[in-house]
Structure formats: C-alpha cells, structure tokens
Symmetry: C2
Subunit: 382 residues, 2 copies
C-alpha cells in the first residue's frame, strides 16, 4: 500500500518508519514546490504530484497549513483522510471555535473580531485580561498579543492597525487561570471506531512544547473520561478519520479545549516507546482501513523536545529506557531537531532518569527538564 | 553517522529502520553486483563501493556468506565489525568447531572429514546415527545428509563421491537426542561490555525457523547463566563486536552449541516488540561505539515467520499486541516474506493470541503455529 503525506518534516518521516514494517510505503509532498520526496532522505522522487495521488491508497497531512488548492486537489481524489474540512478547521481559529460552539464543547470564552472597534466590546464581555490571536497563521504582521489591563487597549489597537481583519479575523479569548495543560490524542477509523491514548501533561516554554509526560500524573478516571468524551464528540462531529490531537486546559476538574490539531501531534511522540502501537502507526492504520491498534501506555513516559541544538553527548543512550529520535535537520532557531523518549516504571524513577538525562544535555536548551524531573520525584513522594 | 551493511535483505532493512531515529544512516551492499543500495527501496545509490566504505563510520554484515574478497576489502578499512575472522567462523563449520574446541565450549561430538574413507572412523567414534554437513554452504552437490544405521554407509559414500573434500571438508556430527532448541542472542561493544537477551525457544520445520518464543518457558536461572557464560566465552574469545547469535541444543540441564551466527538473527526478531532495545538497535550501537541498550524482555513474545506466502488478512492487526513486519519481497519457495510478533502478559494469553492469529493465516504455511499455541496454553495450566 502507498500513503502520500502532505508535508515532508519529521511527522512524515516517523510515519514512513512506522509504515514500512506494515508494508505501507509512505511518500511525502514538499508543499512549497509540490515535489514528491522521500520522507527520510528528502530526495526528490521523479513522479508528478498528480501521478503520486493516483498511485496512493490514501492521502493525509502532517500539518494543517497545507495550501488550500493542494488540499482541494487531494480531496477530489476521494482518498484524503482526514477530510479537507477537518484540516481547514485545524488551520483556522474561527472555524475551530465555530465547531466547538456547534458541538457544545467547552472552551475559553471568546469573541471573533473583524473590525478593530469590536475590541471594546470584547473587554466589556470578557474582561480586560485577553489573548488576541490571528485566526490563521503565517500572515505578515499577525501574531499573538496580550492585554492585561484596559489601559493597554489604545496601544493594542494601534499595533493591530492596518491588518485586514475582514480577510483574517482575530479570535479574542479570555485569559484563563488554568492548573495545567494536557492533551488527548486518539484515532477514529472508517467504521467509526474511536480509541484514545491516556492524557499527557504538556510543559511549554515561549510558545513551544518542551516536555510531555504520559499518562499525566493524578488523572482521575472521571477526568480521563471527560477528555475521551470531548475527543469523541469532536471526532464524530467532524466525521474525522485518522489521528486527532486536542489540547486542553485543566481548571480544577474541568477541561476546556484550547486547540485542535488534525494530525499526529508532538505531545503524542511518547507513544513511540510507551505504547504498544504509536500514534503514527495508528494514523496509518486508520487512513488505509487497517484495524486500529491498542492505545495503551505500558510504562510511564516522558518526551523531551530537542530544540535548536545538536551538540549533546550520545552517551545519553546509556540511560535505561532512554530513546533518541533524531530528525536529521540542520540547526535553526526554535527548530525541533529531535526528541528523546524516556520510559520508567513509576514517576519517581522517571524523575531520576530525567535528572540523569540532564547531565548529558546543554541545559540552556532544556529549560523545563530539571524542574520537571524534581517535580516528578516530589509528586510520587507525596 | 553512516553504517554500510553487506547484504541488502530484511536484516539490513530492519537495521535501517532502527538506525534512522538514532541519526544513523544505513546503506546496504548488494554483494552479487557490489552496488550500494537503499536498504528499503533497494534503489541503487550512485556511489562506488570504495567511496561508500570511505564515507561509512562502520561496516557490518547481515549474513556470513559475503564473498571473501569483499570482506577483505572491508576489513582493510579498519571499520568492519564484527571482524573478518568472526564472520568467516560463521561461514565455515570447520573453523566454528575449531573455535568451540579451542575455547572449551560444549557442542555435539563431531569429526572433520577430508577424505571419504574417514567416514568409517566416524561411525566407529561417534556411532551410526550421524549428520553429515558441508563445512561451507552454497557449493554445488553439497547439502546435509543423515546416517541412521551403519548399513546406509555405502549409499552415503556414493552420494558423496565426486565432492572435493580437500577444498570443502565435511563436518560429521553425532545425531543428538535433545529436549529442545534454544538460542542466546547478545551484544558486545568496543569496550568489551557484554549484554545478553533472555533465551528464546525455536521451532523449526524442514530446516527453517518457524516460531520463536522468548523468554523460553521454564528456563531456570542456572540455565540462563549457562547460556550467558557460553555467549561471553565465545564473544570474548573472538573479540567480537556487535550482535552475535548462538543456537543451542538443550539436553536436560546441559546446553550444547549447535551453530554460531555472527549477526542479528531471526530468533531475535521478537526484540523489536518485546524488548526496550531491539537486536538491530543494539547491533548498530555496538558497531558505531554508542552505549549499549537494555537487553530485557518486558513481555512474553512469540515471533512467527511468514514463509513463501503473501495472502493473508491484515485484520490480524486487530489482535492486541500483534505486530506485522513485512519485508516487501516477491513470493518465492521457502522465502522469508516477513514475520509477526505477538506479545502477551503470560504464556496462556500468548497461546490464546496465537490461536486467534491462526484464524487469519493460510494455516498450511504455518505448520507449527496451532500446536505451539496449544502447547503454550497447556504449559501455563501445568
């Protein structure tokens, strides 16, 4: 079988590696030049995109920001999973919020802004602590802004001056006091079977995921079920096929959706060593019509992103249960270069192993590692 | 890092897949035409063998029958692991027996025959139940013969007439009454560190491995230690670097060496799903100088070879803990097409899963599967 993945980064690469043993050949599309490439070597495969689409048993994406004309071409083949609608929901915060509202899935209080003067209404309705996000990424001048008190409103307005909010609206969210960030990753197949991995806890730094721990500590059965219900509502609501990731804020015993990613997700990389069947493997099974595998966790896992650095000692492989996943890219600022999975029998042991790991790494690139190691040790002592 | 593997079959392919996440790029050499190829696609890489050797950080083999001039070229680079001597021991039963004798490692009583008349002495010394093997494989007219009583000796002699026993001698072994066949697979690194996986039990049919179960049932601590001592003696005696497989006969509480394979081994494929670190991964670590990984078994595993058949239902993937490893080859008689790993918490569960698996397979190609499934169930009931 053949699967064509839009996007030729590490997610396509990991799909390739997981597909090969199942007899699934994964090719990737570099969406910048529309060339078909080998997902590992990135060598151009001399075949037209149209031809590759015709050859493929299934088409899928490794990221949501695939140019819309390519998604439409893919969709016309009838072999794109998840659907173009699901991918576009992931790429557009307005569509995403509309979906959450339609399905009655709890998320942050928010408003959509298409004219700068609506910001006053936002402050009235949502309060003065706000996060302002472009509805779509990758547009010049757009980004994220924060309002912490009303007096900053004029400055914010002037920063936003000149943006074409009719074309790319803003989503304004109430800044939330949450306890922690978690994510639920699961998979839905063509028969509608849904399977869900245990919740992972995610630690971010400057907007990037640095560490995930799965299963997250102290997840009650009720909380896991709440997450699974949210997942199922969203997956069924979108008639979703493949792996879907849902980022959540935990506020007490309440989970609020932060973001939906219509693809395999960084916070699910732990499944490569901590689950019987990885998210990449299950995604390929879902889109090709193979039976889904187990979404279990047979150990406690931590996933540590290697960001913007390549100089570290490979002796870290001497730590039992420590696995390196290197993406083979050249270093660039903020670039994800690889990740390290560490598995352990319990949280205390995981903490010990992360502390041991920190000895092999240039610690300035891993700002969350040591504190998380210590936290895991203290949690399990409690 | 780059590793060049002599041989471009499934073992090189699995090394490629395990090497990639560690940042190790594996290339393969098709020893028939001396071309460098991609280990998965088998596409020719436009680079000379000499160039590929120069580029590689380490050279290794996926099978022992690499033409000697290639091994010598590889050896001259100083980067061939295991050494040419170790590889040649695996390719030549006379050298192998000589090593076992020199190191005092127990094996079947045997004699080397370089003239047909020596067969009479063999019967006198070893008895009339004998197995006659060519010392090296792949020579016309050679194979294996059995003598079950003295009266068959003239017929055997006439079958062997015309062979050049000076060039390719015979090894004549006493036919052994053994309880079962097991194998010990381990790895030795450049610092001399040795790690060993648990013993696997191997079921053969018509000279081919069909099923391995690891850890083998009912292995006492003493027996595992005996196997580890044999492994260590051999690995140290050869100054071996990489993964080494030792096939053993168990006779009561005694282990006798049957055969040595200087490479990753079919009876170690279970490590891909039943161990933290697979034999392929550990082999690459050893030959590139990375720290060795754990050689544990975190579940009970069975490995089932798919031989000479490709028509089966992929719905077998619905069995929890069932993993397919497909090699992407065209069907040929006796050809290993892939294997299936099944993991379980205990032998009874493993037996149940193998029975379930048998429902998805054309059972005539899997003559050992159902009986082994039933045996595992009965063993654990005992």
């Amino acid at each position: 079988m053949q699967v064509l993945v839009y996007g030729a980064g590490q997610l396509a690469q990991m799909m390739y590696l997981e597909g090969c043993p199942m007899g699934i050949e994964v090719h990737a599309v570099d969406v910048k030049n529309e060339q078909v490439v080998h997902p590992v070597s990135k060598q151009v495969i001399e075949i037209s995109l149209a031809h590759a689409i015709a050859n493929a048993d299934a088409l899928t994406v490794e990221f949501e920001h695939v140019p819309e004309h390519l998604l439409e071409q893919a969709s016309r083949s009838g072999k794109l999973f998840p659907s173009i609608d699901a991918v576009l929901i992931g790429a557009d915060r307005v569509r995403e919020k509309r979906l959450l509202t339609r399905l009655g899935v709890k998320n942050c209080a928010h408003q959509v802004v298409t004219h700068i003067d609506q910001l006053d209404e936002c402050v009235e309705a949502l309060g003065e602590r706000l996060i302002v996000k472009a509805s779509r990424d990758g547009y010049d001048g757009y980004g994220q802004w924060r309002l912490t008190e009303k007096s900053e409103l004029p400055a914010l307005k002037s920063a936003l001056q000149g943006l074409d909010l009719q074309t790319v609206p803003l989503v304004v969210e109430q800044m939330l006091e949450f306890d922690r960030e978690v994510s639920i990753i699961g998979v839905r197949d063509k028969q509608g079977v849904v399977r869900v991995y245990p919740l992972a806890e995610n630690l971010h730094h400057k907007g990037q995921l640095h560490v995930s721990v799965a299963p997250a500590f102290n997840i009650t059965e009720a909380l896991q079920q709440q997450a699974e219900a949210i997942f199922t509502t969203l997956a069924e609501g979108m008639e979703y096929i493949g792996v879907l990731a849902v980022e959540l804020f935990q506020c007490g015993e309440q989970l609020l959706v932060n973001e939906i990613a219509p693809r395999v997700h960084n916070s699910g990389h732990w499944t490569l060593s901590g689950s019987d069947v990885s998210q990449f493997n299950n995604h390929l099974r879902a889109v090709t019509g193979l039976p889904l595998g187990r979404c279990n966790s047979h150990r406690i896992s931590a996933m540590i992103n290697i960001i913007a650095c390549s100089a570290f000692s490979s002796d870290l492989l001497s730590i039992p249960g420590c696995h390196l996943y290197w993406y083979g890219k050249t270093v660039r600022e903020k670039r994800k270069m690889g990740h390290i999975n560490v598995t352990a029998e319990n949280y205390a042991e995981l903490g010990d192993k992360l502390l041991a790991l920190s000895e092999y790494l240039p610690i300035e690139y891993f700002p969350k590692l040591v504190s998380e190691a210590k936290r895991l040790k203290s949690l399990s002592a409690a």
